[in-house]
């Protein structure tokens, strides 16, 4: 299954282009599922019809679903929920337990799990994800890494601890705090599902991100950083979609200054992103409903299948040249001062602005010193010595 993540700054048209992509892909014969993982859903608003937490058919071969943490939790995570309810039993009524479950972090988890679910059904060839604005999406993409570390280092201990403690504290107030075995089982299942999603997201042949922008300086600047973060987390971006380009018929007049700014922004877009750029012009009216969205898809992709991988190069690449090994990573819009690189054991610790990641090094360079770090925008090159 192909996964297409749509992200970008708020209000640029992520939902609209995600839906256009889905409808376009269906025209090429794919069975498509559109998932909205933004808690402020707008699939329904863009379609002009209601979309809910259950898959809804919106066109031939296209289903849409807005993920609601509450519903998903009710559906799938009974034992974890029961434990929390039990824990809160005396003072909290049901509503409060529900509120707690809507706590930050849960949403990311639920969103990732939904992608897994679409894959599991086997009913779809393409999963188009309409993500939340950039910041939350990055949190979502970072989540599997964090969970993996937690599970590897803690889970066994927690579980062992719980087993040992349970008989000792039976009957005490504190005894309620120690979850039962089925809680751990549920948690482990959940982890394995998220781990599956992680594999899917990091596989550039299956998953690519599409960054949606408008031709405005502030938006382009932020999107360049998003591209860099996606690279850092190992997610391949295969195109940048420029939405709301002024049509050529707009001659100036009141908009002359805006046209000038737009031209500058478009130049920056072409220069900064090392992937194909696709454009679509501002429409003469609001784009609402499948018909208008299909029309948009046609301008955006022409005869191309929107599910195609438009760029095959990976965000992090290992190259060998004249006996030297070089690690390359695409980081547009990032200056050298914002990057920190250290090799530690089998990992490379890379910091880009306020984001950090450990990248596993290929065996051939483990233990070798970093000879040089060079930024040739948008590519960061890390060259290892002999």
């Amino acid at each position: 299954m192909r996964v297409l993540l749509h992200t970008g700054k708020g209000g640029v048209g992520k939902t609209t282009l995600a839906l256009a992509t889905a409808l376009g892909a269906a025209r090429h014969g794919h069975r498509v599922c559109v998932l909205s993982t933004d808690p402020a859903h707008s699939l329904g608003d863009a379609l002009g019809e209601r979309v809910g937490p259950n898959p809804k058919r919106i066109a031939d071969g296209v289903y849409a679903r807005e993920i609601r943490a509450q519903v998903e939790l009710d559906r799938a995570w009974q034992s974890i929920q029961n434990w929390l309810r039990e824990l809160l039993r005396e003072e909290a009524d049901e509503l409060v337990a529900e509120e707690l479950l809507a706590f930050p972090g849960i949403e990311e988890l639920v969103a990732l799990r939904a992608v897994h679910e679409v894959e599991e059904t086997g009913d779809f060839d393409v999963c188009v994800v309409d993500c939340a604005p950039t910041g939350s999406t990055m949190r979502m993409l970072r989540f599997p890494d964090a969970l993996r570390i937690f599970m590897q280092h803690f889970f066994a201990i927690e579980r062992k601890g719980a087993r040992l403690l349970r008989p000792l504290v039976r009957g005490f107030e504190a005894g309620r705090l120690i979850p039962r075995e089925d809680f751990f089982d549920a948690f482990e299942r959940l982890y394995l599902e998220i781990e599956d999603v992680r594999q899917v997201l990091l596989d550039g042949e299956r998953t690519t991100a599409r960054l949606v922008v408008n031709p405005t300086k502030v938006i382009v600047d932020e999107t360049r950083r998003s591209f860099a973060y996606l690279s850092l987390y190992g997610i391949a971006t295969d195109s940048v979609l420029v939405n709301r380009v002024m049509p050529e018929s707009v001659g100036g007049g009141y908009f002359s200054r805006w046209l000038e700014l737009e031209r500058e922004a478009l130049d920056v877009i072409v220069e900064s992103f090392p992937v194909p750029i696709r454009r679509v012009s501002l429409r003469p009216r609001e784009v609402i409903g499948t018909e208008a969205l299909e029309e948009l898809a046609l301008e955006l992709f022409g005869d191309l299948d929107p599910a195609t991988r438009f760029e095959s190069s990976r965000p992090i690449r290992i190259r060998r040249e004249a006996g030297r090994t070089r690690l390359e990573i695409d980081l547009p819009g990032i200056t050298k001062e914002e990057i920190d690189v250290v090799a530690k054991g089998a990992d490379l610790h890379l910091r880009v602005r306020d984001a950090r990641r450990m990248i596993s090094l290929p065996e051939s360079v483990v233990g070798r010193p970093i000879e040089r770090v060079r930024l040739r925008p948008p590519v960061l090159e890390i060259i290892f010595g002999e």
Binding site: K9, G10, G11, V12, P39, A40, S42, D45, A46, R50, G52, R68, Q70, L87, L88, A92, L95, A97, E98, E99, L100, A102, F103, P104, G105, P133, G135, S136, A146, I149, F150, H153, F154, I157, K160, G161, L164, L165, V169, E173, A174, L177, N214, V218, D221, E222, P247, S249, V250, G253, Y254, F255, W258, P284, R285, E286, H349, R351, R356, M358
Partner: protein, 399 residues
């Protein structure tokens, strides 16, 4: 002290509007602080200045800052964080990664709240304006004190009790570090103290929320839902700002004629939907609005004679109630003709029809499984009562 929160869908111009409001108020003699709460900060871009986690003076009476979650977490959550880092390192996790992980989910929202409360208490300002992240996060932000107040407080108490009982046993068995009383004391201060105070502040008359929209249906749809959500948490909104209306001059451009016509319709829709909230209109400018001077000018256009820091209108007192007796929606409907009233629920929306005009109200999550039991009018208030869990589907009732 007055606290204003600007919210709305991404890209509608929250930051520009918030900064313009602040600059105008400062120009009219108030001491103003504008706080950017969106992790993807753009306040600095709009003001054309580099901002940090500390207030920076940009014009007489006008300060601005961008919340630095790391810094706030460090100073208010240091012990809890240090404990988490300890625990992670004990597990053999590298310190750098441990620090990353110890930035708990929700840390950003928490940091913003702490920062707002700190400056609100400082006495340095007459007006604090918060430029919120797009809708989803704003709601998370404003409801966090509520959620924390309700359940975390109980959880923390239990955890503490448990730690005292379990600690001596657990240390021997598991070997992992156990949180000390100090760790809990800090969590207490944050949740009982700071967040509790801020919750009171958000619910008081000194706080208003302003919803920014563009005259486009997707932005309006989202704003309508967020108004319902804000009501659910009894947060008062005092105005809707319709941003980027195409001025007559812009509509002379052939391509934009249809946009112009549609915007007029959308504006009317906003005025009807959000009444009795005051609607302010800002035209699309001919150029980007950057820098303090341009922002102050923009503020003049938006507010005219109005005082930007005053309470611009009383919030509609739509209320959701849920207690042991059941769940109710209360909506003030002055001058209601009962004969023409029609109330239905379609999935998670309550549709209230009055004399052929319909108003859709998004029901909060807890109501979605309930059926309408009774619809009564008491005085000028409509009360829709919901009964026990029913089967799915729509249920109608009218009286």
């Amino acid at each position: 002290m007055r606290l204003l929160l600007y919210t709305g869908k991404g890209g509608v111009g929250k930051t520009t509007t918030a900064a313009a409001t602040g600059m105008l108020a400062a120009r009219r003699g108030r001491r103003v602080l504008v706080i950017s709460a969106d992790a993807a900060h753009s306040l600095g871009d709009v003001l054309c200045e580099r901002l940090s986690g500390e207030p920076r003076r940009l014009a007489p009476g006008f300060d601005a800052l961008e919340v630095d979650a790391r810094q706030v977490v460090e100073s208010h959550w240091g012990r809890v964080r240090a404990y988490l880092v300890d625990l992670l390192r004990y597990q053999g996790i590298d310190e750098v990664i441990a620090e990353e992980l110890a930035l708990l989910p929700g840390a950003e929202e928490l940091a913003t709240l702490v920062c707002v409360e700190e400056w609100a208490c400082s006495g340095d300002y007459d007006l604090i304006i918060v430029d919120c992240a797009p809708t989803g996060s704003t709601l998370r932000l404003v409801t966090l004190p509520e959620v924390a107040h309700g359940s975390l407080r109980w959880l923390l108490r239990l955890q503490r009790a448990a730690a005292y009982v379990i600690e001596p046993i657990a240390r021997g068995l598991v070997g992992a570090p156990i949180p000390t009383g100090e760790v809990f004391a800090e969590a207490d201060r944050l949740f009982y103290g700071t967040l509790h105070r801020l919750r009171a502040r958000l619910l008081s008359k000194e706080t208003s929320i302003r919803i920014v929209v563009t005259p486009e249906s997707m932005a309006i749809d989202e704003a309508r839902r967020s108004l319902t959500d804000l009501c659910l948490f009894q947060l008062a909104s005092d105005a809707v700002i319709i941003n980027r209306m195409l001025p007559a001059e812009a509509c002379r451009e052939v391509f934009f004629q249809e946009w112009g016509r549609m915007q007029v319709e959308r504006k009317r829709e906003v005025e009807e939907t959000f009444a009795p909230l005051r609607c302010l209109v800002a035209p699309l400018a001919e150029d980007e609005i950057l820098g303090v001077e341009a922002l102050a000018e923009h503020g003049e256009i938006l507010f005219g004679e109005l005082d930007p820091s005053s309470c611009l209108s009383e919030s509609p007192r739509l209320r959701f109630e849920r207690d042991k007796a059941g769940a109710r929606v209360r909506l003030p409907l002055p001058g209601l003709d009962r004969e023409t009233l029609d109330v239905t629920r379609v999935e998670d929306e309550l549709i209230i029809g009055v004399a052929g005009r319909r108003r859709k109200i998004a029901l909060p999550a807890g109501f979605s499984k309930l059926d309408i039991e009774t619809v009564v009018c008491r005085g000028e208030e409509l009360i829709v009562s919901f009964g026990a869990r029913g089967v799915d589907g729509s249920t109608g009732a009218s009286q």
